[in-house]
Every structure is written in structure tokens, then in C-alpha cells.
Amino acid sequence: MKIDKHAYGEDYGKERSDKIVKILSVAVCLVIIFVIGILAWALPQPTYSEYEKRDLNQMPEFSIESLFKGEYTLGVELAYADTFAFRENFVKMQAMIEEARGIRIEGAAIYGPVPGNTNDEDDKIPPSSEVSSEQSSESSSSDNISRPDNTSSSEMSSSESSSSEQSSESSSSEAQDDGEQGETVAGIFLYKGAAYELFGGSKKAAEYYAGVVNKYGDAFGSGVKVYNMVIPKHAEFGLTGRYDSLSNSEKDSIDYIYSMLDSDVIKVDAYSVLKEHSDEYIYFNTDHHWTGLGAYYAYTAFMDAAGLSYYDYESYTKHIIEPFLGTLYAGTDRAKALEDNPDYVEWCEFPVTNKTYQYNKSDLGNYFASSVMHGYAKGANSYGVFLGGDFPLTVIKTNVNNGRKLVIIKESYGNAPATFIAAGFEETYVVDERYYDGNLVDLVNSRGITDVLIINNCAAANTNFHIANIESLLTQTYSGAIAYPEG
């Protein structure tokens, strides 16, 4: 018998290399796990992510109670993930993988839930052309409209309950912007370097909103004028062609709301002037707010309605903050198309001598000196240049002498126009419906207010969370004494 030593040796070598390859195959995983695992503990733990613009979860305090509730271990997992080694690189890689999942024709992409075209006849906003004829029958049934309706579409409520009160301890020197808080979370459409929040809308919510605004019309004495302004958002003018159907008509919704307002509420038509200038830079491409210029046009519409004159845009001293990547940049998981097309914020110096004061959340007993414009705002918070963000109350006193005193009830969309409007009044009280704890009737009566403006973006005017806040301003009471800046 002849033994083939050569073949035996070859087999042996094969077995060896087979073993080496298998060891390598396991070892590569072990190396990754151990190296990253050790670095995750050893590297300094960041507390804030500049890239994601948010505070990172920190290791929770241990207590038996939180352990038994499962909160402790969950907290450890969150903190571990937030302070993970090379976190920023991994997050960028995740965004890349997400964008590589398919094709984007002309950059068209969709994120999150899309407001469907409702077929629920009860909740469908009638087209503008039908509004006037329907008006009489609608207003007769308006008794039941002030019922917050939780059954309507999910895009209305998902973010409201989880209101992530961002670390709200704001000092006067820090611009704050509550971003999406309390805003509707509709889907986002990304197209040619701009992101659009899609509008769903709800007939029931719009009716509720109009009913609440009408309550304002009846709440004050005859000397107080009440105005309402509902502002269309970017998708209304930005989506054209076949993508137009992604978002429902905001004009229909605004017209429907206005059709239900009583005659003692003055309707401010911001829509027409914005439409007229819709090819200008009136909305941000990476943020859900409008620009100072857009707010300026709305301001002119309001001043017309209030019978006051307004400044020419050319007359302002202007500044620019750039680059600005806003909330929609975050909402699209930091889409490359937006990163390549950042916004800038142009802001105008407040044109008249003023004293401005602001209040921190849950504390109307103390105010601090502040300013109308906050030029140091930067980065993701650049929209915070207007009023410094969302404070429960901002009081602006000017050297204007026309006997007019104004209250503005707003969410963040109102911040930018307030910085123009206030220059036309002796005193302006900017109330954030989400954070102001005081009673609005008291405010109007005690401060000798002559004008009340309720200003909302169209999505907020269709969101029960906001409407309920605006409604309760009329009835809620503040537990302590509210301090007002005198003189």
C-alpha cells in the first residue's frame, strides 16, 4: 500500500488554515466588542451633543425604588447608548445607511406619518369655495365644538403627551427655542434641498379653534379689539405639481376658521400677502418656522387691520446669522440634502427705544430685564433671535405714544412677528399659550389693554393641545401674585 504523504500534508495544512480563518472570524468580533466596550467606559462621558443639539442622558441615581420600578436599568441603558464611544460617527453612519435604502428622485423623500386625505366626512375640511354657503348651517351646530377631540388623526397628538420639556431653566442670557414642542408631528417631505412639514388638518379641531377665538371676542369690554391671524406654513406654497397632494390645503382650513368667526373678531389676512411674496425667502428650508421676512409681511397685514402704520423693510438695520440647520434637519435624521443647503436668519434691529422684560416658566412673580432681539442666537437655535425663544411672558415697553396696548397670544410662530409689531404699540405683552400660567382677562383688565391678537400657524390652529391651552388662558388663575414691570 502506498501512502501519499503529500496529500496528507496538504490536508493538514488545509485544516490549519481553516482553523486560522475561523479564529479570525470570531476574533474580529471580539476585538470590536472589547475595544468599543472598554472605550465606552474609559472615554470621557459627554453631557451634550453639539451634533444632535440635545442634552445626553446621564447615568441615573441608584435607588431601590427606581430599581424595582425598572427605571434604573432603563436609565442606565439610555445613558449608555447616549455616551457610547464614537457615538457621533455611528449616528452619521446610521443616517448614511438610511439614505441608502432606496432612490430619491430629485431628492424627494418622505419621513414619518403622512396626513392622509381623510374620508371621514365629519372631519374633512370643506374647500374654500363651499365655505360661504355652508357657513350658516355650520355655525348653528357650533355648540358642541369646544369638545377636545382625541379620536382624530394620530399626527395631532403624538408629541403632545410626551411633551419633552427641554431643560427649561432659562437664564436671561440664553436664547431658548422649544422647537417642536407642542407642534403637530406630521410627516416631513424633503424635496430639492428643502423640508416641508405636511399639513393634515381636522374640521373638528378647526371648529374648536374658531369657537375658542369667538370666546375671546366676548371676553373683554367693548374697548378691546380682538384679532385673529392664522398663518400658512411652507408646504402650502412650496409643494407643487404632483407633490401638492401630500399636504392638505391650509387655505381651506384658514378660510373655514375665518368663516366661523363672529363679526367682533377682526380677521387678519396674512395668507394673501404671503402668497404674493411666496417666491421670496419667507420660510426656512431646514426649520419649521418662517423667516423674519415672512413675519414682516404678516406684520404689515396686521398693522393694516389695526389701523396703524408700518415700517418699510428697507428702513431696518439688518443682521445675518448663519448657517442655520433647524428642527427639520433633525426631523429628517440630518438629511445630507439639507446640510448642503443651510438656512440663514436675517433679523432687524428693533426700531424704537424700549424696555423689555421676560419671565421664566412657572414663575410670574419675578421678571428680569431682557431685549426684543437676541442677536447671539446661533446654530440650531438661530430662530431664538426673535424674543430669545419661548418665554411665558415678554413685556415690551416703547416710547411710542398712541394709547395702544397689545397682548399677543402665540406659539413660537408668533415670536418673529411680535418683534415687528411691538414697535407700533406703547406696551406689548407677548403670552405663550403653552407656558403662561396667569389669567388673560385679568391681564387685559389690569394693564389697560386695547388690542388682543391671537396668532397661530395653521397646524397649531388645528391641534387640540394648542387650542385647549388658548381656551384655558381665559379661565385659569395664577396661584401667586404676578409682578409687572412698572415705569
Binding site: V28, F90, Q94, V114
Partner: protein, 466 residues
Amino acid sequence: MVFANLFFLYAFLPLNLILYFSTKNRAFRNAVLIFFSLFFYAWGEPVWVTLLIFSATIDYFHGLIIEKYRGKIGAKLALISSLVLNLGLLGIFKYSGFFVENINLLTGLDLPVPAFSLPIGISFYTFQTLSYTIDVYRDEVKPQHSYMKFFMYVSLYSQLVAGPIVRYADVAIEVDERHENLEDIYSGTARFLVGLTKKVFIANVAGQFAETYLMGDLTKQSTAAVWFGVLMFSIQIYYDFSGYSDMAIGLGKIFGFHFLENFNYPYIARSATEFWRRWHMSLGGFFRDYVYIPLGGNRKHQYLNLFIVWFLTGFWHGASWNFIIWGLWFGVLIIIEKLFLLKWLKKLPVISNIYLLFIAVMGWVMFYFEDMGRMFDCFAVMFGAKGTGFWDISLELTLLNNIFWIILAVAFCMPIVPSVKKFIENHPKVQMPAKILQIPANAVMLIVNTSLLVGMSYNPFLYYKF
């Protein structure tokens, strides 16, 4: 704790591996597994880890008592005690709320509804210990005399929270004597990473789409959009569940255990009967061996037996009527198939595939919606009864934006991997290159999944109801 989690992958697992492989001492290795398993479980259930210990302890003694009193009344009593205690645990923690609610509904009473939070994995580990006691009673397996070893079998974290249901008889030898080796560690690692990829890269993404299209007001969605949502849920639950089983099997291999397969490409089945031989096989086997056959199997009142088994299968998935409906849906289909349909299906290759996919997807609608009203809305929109229109542009964008991913997700529902493996087996020349390719493939899977876990907030655990 769950596997698809950074803390597990980069803190728990490496520590577990270091300690486990730091010595060859069997008792020490077993102790390490027990310690890490208890930690793993207590991490998510710091209170109800006591139930796990209780269930394991009583059945350890049940096994010993049955052995001691074999053939006598004592053995029978121990078996009954095991059934009562294990099913009692399930009854109290999983079903009591459901029962009281329905009693209230039927009688108009207002009994207080117990609100236990369902301990994770209780349906899996109570079935494991039950199977042990029954198998010992039937003298199919010898009882384990070492409490430590028995406890290790019950608590082993790899299959503790999401299956498969590992029967003691299948791992009895390895509990006593197992040989961890390079081959197993190598293939176990790859298997674990494949499971992780199925969970993180496919299931989580599909789940996000399912939620987007199914969670909101269905009557506002187009027919195609709701179909897409339902198909995405079908993708999600398959990849999630089978991914977990892959990870369990892979981890088991690393530690020297060989669990039976739990999924075998269920969506290529050609009948409901075949689907359940490919889907969650360890559960089907459990009900077959411990319920269906003892009831008489196909020898007496077969249809009643089938009805009971499928009622229980549905009910096992959650204490809610929709799961019962889902189980009975398959029960009825399987009975119809037994009566005549199966013969036809065998002769109709493509049509039988479409038939199975259709009934499986319809089943997932029943499974997804606990709210009957929403379930009917979903069916209504799917079949155009709500007049919501067939197509919408946002769905078109979603499809385009994810087209490569969708192709991958659908393709890997089919047995591509086994075919490739077979090809490699039959072609010795590509064996070495294939193994070398496994090295970067492992690294890529680990890194990609890590980045998705870091960047994505959506990572649900589907088995809280089981």
C-alpha cells in the same frame, strides 16, 4: 434585557464571555451562566425574577418526586402539582385580567380587574419546566439531580425571554456534559450576527413602517398604503421573531448548547398546515406532544382536538380575543385543508404559495389589532370598502426611498442562505474564499447594527404579551 441593545452587546456579553471562558472548570462555567442569566432577567424584571426561581425550584423537586414514586400515586400528584402551579402562574399573571374583564362584561358585575404586569418570558419558561416534568413522568428523560444544572437549563438567558421553547430532553446531555469548540463558536457567532441583523436592520425598520401606516386613522389611508403597512408588519414579525431565535441558537452554540431550529422559511409554505411546521416550530411541537396527542390526536375526535389546540395556540400569544381569533383562523383553515384542500394545493404550485401568503397576511391583521373596530377598519380599507382610493403619492415616495431595502427584506424571506451554503458545500474550491469572506462580513454586520442601534430610537420588544 434584550439582545439587540448596546448595553448587552458591549458590556454584558463581553464580561460574560471573559468569565465563562476564563477557566475550563465545568461547575464554574455553569455558575457563570446562572449568574449572568439571573442578572439578565432581573435587569428587566427585578421583582418577578422570583417567579423564575420559584418555577425552576418546584419543578426540580417535581422531577425528583416523580422518579422516587414512579408508578405510584405520588408521581401522579407531583405531575398534577406541576401542571397546577405552572399553569396557575400563567393564569394569574397573564390571563387573570382578561378573565375578570370578560366576566364583568358577561354578567354586568364590576369586579376589580387585576392589573399584573406580565413578567417577560413567563410563557416561555413555564412551558420549558412543564415539558421537563411531563417528560420525566413519561419516563422519556431522566430527572436532573443537580439543582444547579437544572436551574441553569431553566434560566439560560439565550432563550429565556423570546424562545425557542427548549425542551429539557433536547439538551439533557449538554447540561451535564458539553464540549465548547471552535467550530461551534465560529458558527454560533455568525448565527448570532445574522439574527441581530434580521432584528435591527430589517425588523425594526419594517416595524417603523407598520406603525406609520397602521397606528393612525386607517380610514385616512389609501388601500395600497394599508396593504403596505400590513405587509411590513408581516416582515417585521417574521424577522424579529426568527432573528431572536437565531440569536438564541447562536449564543447557545457559543456556550456549547445545540437548540433545535425554530423557523424554517415559513413564508414559502404552501398551506396553513405546512406554515405551522415552519413557524415557531418549538411551540407547535409543544402543543402537538403535550396537548394534541394526549387528547387523542387523529385517532379520536380529531377536529375537536384541533380546535382546542388552535384555540390554545392563539391564546398563548396574548390574553386578548384577537389572538384567539387568529389561532382559530389557522385552526379552521387547517381543518379545511385536512378535509379536502390540501390535496388540491399540492397540485397547484404557485397558487398554493399565493394562498398561504394571503391567509398568513390576513392572520397578521387579526394579530396586530387588539381593537376589533380597528381590525375591521383595516380589512375594509384593504378591500376597498371605505372608498379611500387605491394609491397615494406618499406611499410611492416611501417605496422609492426604500426600494433596495424592500427587495432585500422580501428576498431573504426565501431560502437564499441555505442555497448558497449548499452551493459552497458542493464546490470545494469556493469553500476557503467563502470562509475568508465571513471575516469582513462579521465585522460589517456588527458595525452596521451598532450604528443603527446608536442612531435609531425605534427598537421595540414584541414579546411582552407572550
